[in-house]
């Protein structure tokens, strides 16, 4: 799980600030908001890829981050899937076994020996997921994992996210797809211009949003 307090990050012309944020085990926290709101930045801060200018971050257990365009190594699918485990010091043979299990779960076992660079968009995301999940992290930070994917792949990946949640992982999901957010989220957070306008349990958030800006955003209006 991840706890953040007084998190602040500044760029020229932009400031991200969150008073309090929690990612709890067995829960999906959906982060929604317009482009440029700071969603990706927030995720990177939680993942430890960027250091906050101010604030405290507490992480219990390893967290794994999935980029919007996952970087695949110039190796086979299997070797990519095993990469996270190898980084943790797993011997090659054991890592490959575990990697194969995960390739099976994401439906890529047939492609295990293929060069990873030749995969389609949906396959790349599934591979990146398998790679990330294989290390069985405590927290999973996903940056728009189903953007630009066809419905079949979207469904597949949503199923995986559901399974991870059931397995007790803390999931933070940044998404543009409000329907997806409704489907998957236990809690939701609306980020606008670097501030959390509203946050809370999913049902209340989507059905009876408190803030007018949230209402406007959820109804599809442009929110500046």
């Amino acid at each position: 799980m991840i706890e953040a307090e007084g998190l602040e990050r500044r760029y020229p012309g932009f400031r991200l600030f969150l008073d309090r944020l929690e990612a709890r085990p067995g829960e999906v926290l959906a982060v929604v908001g317009p482009s440029g709101a700071g969603k990706s930045t927030l995720l990177r801060l939680l993942a430890g890829l960027e250091a906050p200018d101010r604030g405290r971050l507490r992480r219990r257990g390893p967290a794994v981050y999935l980029d919007q365009q996952p970087y695949l190594l110039e190796r086979t699918v299997l070797e990519n899937a095993a990469f996270g485990l190898r980084l943790k010091g797993w011997p090659a043979a054991r890592a490959r076994v575990r990697a194969r299990e995960w390739l099976e779960r994401v439906g890529l076992s047939g492609l295990a020996a293929r060069p990873a660079r030749g995969l389609s968009g949906g396959e790349r995301v599934r591979l990146a997921l398998a790679r990330a999940l294989a290390v069985e992290p405590a927290a999973l930070l996903l940056d728009e994992p189903t953007a630009n994917l066809d419905p079949a792949n979207v469904a597949r990946i949503e199923a995986l996210i559901g399974a991870e949640r059931a397995a007790g992982r803390a999931v933070v999901l940044v998404t543009h797809n409000l329907f997806q957010a409704r489907r998957l989220a236990d809690r939701a957070l609306f980020l606008l211009e670097g501030t959390a306008v509203e946050a809370g349990p999913a049902a209340a958030f989507f059905e009876r949003p408190a803030d007018p800006r949230t209402r406007a955003f959820l109804s599809g209006a442009m929110v500046w």
């Binding site: 993942a47 981050y65 980029d67 190594l73």
Partner: protein
């Protein structure tokens, strides 16, 4: 030994040696600059070096190795080692520059990936090295290709001396000068063939997937 074979082996030998020397300095430099990030000065110098006119390099070494020159006492002018030195100066910026550019384009992605999976900086650096094999192959091929096809500097520094410093390119020029155009063309094709074989070997052995 058949003279054409002799000339071919000499071309391969001196250009191969020059590429290795240039790689010994250029690969580490390129990897370092690519991984750590190269400043504008470093990039400008390397890119300028890639465009160095070979004849200028040749003239420089001529004056350096000339018996009237500062290193004249070494007696290196008109010898193969001098040719190798001049060629390695030509290959070095190509190898370093290509490596730097290729590694730099991968550096950010690899770093993010490794850190996103909980790895540290050292692991990121080592992964970057492993991922850069194709880049290194391309850089070596570029360096070798440049020097084996070089003729201006080789002539000035080597003298195109029969049985001593004559290589495929200078032999082509010689035959053309004599008006023996068919012979020149055959030598030229041989040169192309050699370059193709070496590039092919580099790709096949260099890009083999690691275990």
């Amino acid at each position: 030994m058949n003279e054409v074979l002799e000339i071919t082996l000499r071309s391969l030998g001196v250009s191969g040696a020059a590429t290795l020397i240039a790689a010994a300095f250029g690969l580490p430099l390129g990897l370092w600059l690519g991984a750590r990030g190269a400043g504008r000065l470093a990039r400008s110098l390397l890119y300028a070096g890639m465009g160095l006119p070979p004849v200028v390099v040749g003239l420089f070494f001529y004056f350096l190795f000339s018996r009237s020159g500062p290193l004249g006492g070494l007696g290196l002018l008109y010898t193969l080692p001098a040719v190798a030195v001049a060629e390695s100066v030509l290959a070095f910026p190509l190898i370093a520059g290509f490596t730097m550019a290729g590694v730099a384009s991968r550096a950010e992605g690899v770093r993010r990936l490794v850190k996103s999976l909980g790895g540290n900086e050292l692991q990121a650096f080592l992964t970057l090295l492993a991922e850069s094999r194709r880049v290194v192959v391309a850089a070596l091929a570029a360096g070798f290709g440049a020097v084996i096809s070089e003729v201006g500097a080789v002539t000035i520094v080597g003298g195109d001396i029969r049985h001593a410093t004559r290589v495929l390119t200078t032999a082509v020029v010689l035959e053309t000068r004599k008006g023996e155009l068919e012979r020149a063309a055959v030598l030229g094709l041989l040169l192309l063939g050699v370059t193709l074989v070496v590039s092919g070997l580099l790709v096949v052995f260099g890009e083999r997937e690691a275990a």
